[in-house]
Symmetry: C2
């Protein structure tokens, strides 16, 4: 697999496509914003004029689009699936609900192409550095064929199951924990702010204790900033925790902590902070508890 089509060259997709180029893959990319494909072309890739143009002749087509609906549009309405050679692989790497992934996989298989459910974790930093975690589900043969491509994106590549939808499930569970951990860090800092302890010392203590989480260490310091740079936006978690709750609904699993965390991000978005860094869910707790902003 040397010839890769790539659809969705946003803040995640473009650096991922560049990592393919750096490993010698031929990449033909498409994005709704023409300047993104032009940027890829400047780095040695090819700018496709349409989704179908990106897919034409590819061994593997990466979909790094916004959601499952966009993946469906690209594949079926925009003709990418028809343009893809028989037996080629569709790698859906966006975060999508497990049920939607299963449905797409069935339609792709029915059209004689292979499907790889392969969402990622690690954000823009991981996409740029080639250090994403990749949670791939597909029959082993498909996974092994695609593995060299996946290793260009991430250093933690897992084959989590044979059935498409299982990758999306692992990613969903991943996002459940990420979202709850960010909201919990905000809840903890808001309590500490209300009682009046030094939040810098608090983060130092908690970052080295059993209370620690990856998100506490990463987002905690940004919660103490008034307008931190946007690493990932509040509205991403409004979407992703929505997917978590949809997965719970479909599977009949009650998720009380995730539902509360979702409401906290939703409230942040409701107050106009949807585009702010997701650490700013702390503002929901400040608003809730009558605290000034920022907490220090």
């Amino acid at each position: 697999m040397r010839s890769i089509g790539f659809i969705g060259l946003g803040s995640m997709g473009l650096p991922m496509a560049r990592n393919l180029l750096a490993r010698g893959f031929a990449v033909r990319g498409f994005d709704l914003r023409a300047e993104s494909a032009a940027a890829l072309a400047r780095d040695g890739g090819a700018a496709a004029a349409s989704a179908a143009d990106a897919a034409a002749g590819a061994d593997l087509l990466v979909l790094m689009v916004v959601n499952a609906a966009q993946a469906e549009t690209v594949l079926f309405a925009d003709g990418a699936l028809d343009a893809l050679p028989a037996g080629a692989v569709v790698a859906l790497m966006a975060t999508c609900p497990p049920g939607a992934v299963e449905a797409l996989a069935g339609r792709v298989a029915a059209a004689g192409r292979r499907f790889l459910d392969a969402p990622v974790s690690g954000g823009v930093v991981g996409a740029s550095g080639g250090t994403l975690t990749i949670m791939a589900a597909a029959p082993r043969e498909t996974f092994e064929a695609a593995e060299p491509v996946l290793r260009a994106f991430g250093d933690k590549v897992f084959h989590v199951g044979e059935r498409p939808g299982q990758g999306a499930t692992v990613k969903t569970v991943n996002q459940l924990l990420c979202g709850v951990h960010i909201a919990a860090a905000a809840e903890a800092l808001a309590l500490a702010a209300k009682v009046g302890v030094d939040l810098g010392i608090l983060l130092e203590v908690l970052g080295g204790s059993a209370a620690s989480s990856w998100m506490l260490r990463n987002r905690g310091p940004r919660m103490l900033q008034d307008e931190p740079e946007v690493a990932s936006a509040v509205d991403i978690f409004v979407k992703d925790l929505g997917i978590v709750l949809e997965a719970g609904h479909d599977a009949r699993a009650a998720l009380p902590l995730a539902s509360i965390a979702h409401q906290m991000f939703l409230a942040a978005s409701a107050r106009g902070d949807g585009g702010a860094d997701d650490s700013q869910v702390v503002r929901t707790y400040l608003a809730l508890n009558g605290l000034p902003r920022p907490p220090e």
Copy 2:
């Protein structure tokens, strides 16, 4: 400070007192169970006949009792405070509500003794290994006088504030995160079990991703066991998250995630699992969602 009184020689207190002996401190210990003080005596300490006997002549009196009510009884009803020399330090190291700690500190100061609010994190493993995290609040002079004693207990000794109650607050916030992280791990595993992904692979993926927490890595594998060894019991979090909610109530801080997590531990206790390892809060999610036990 070489002469230490020690009240409360349970699963935490006894190994802590032993670490004092190993560093050459003289330790006179008391516990309601006489066999605990006898065990300390066998290791080179002295067995006190009463709380007041443990405090008599001590430079510093450690209270590693069950809760604030027991600390109050020991100090005031049982005569330990009166037995303690003027200017000696009372180090309250149990997990207590910040408001109760402040009140005790005031009464100790009024009696001419010094007060150190110094709760710990790290469990029995940290107590035995001398690797506890210690969150100490007191005027700097008191903290510095007691610091060599604290360093016998832990390698992460923080002076988090000048005012007693601030240590208890940091510990409270610590427990908020610990409790929410354990419950979140259980919620995540229950969703994954319901959808049907391999839980061992799931923990491997999540343990190395942004979804990771100290508790996920520590308690997650024990959630997959049917009857894991009890490292810390469900009822400890029923108590500690109760303290978290009390602190939130006193400070007027709404804590929606902590309140949900508390309910999950409470439900585990309600079903007769209060003495089980706290990882078994996962059984609440299994019961809630009609899943067999264990989740695999």
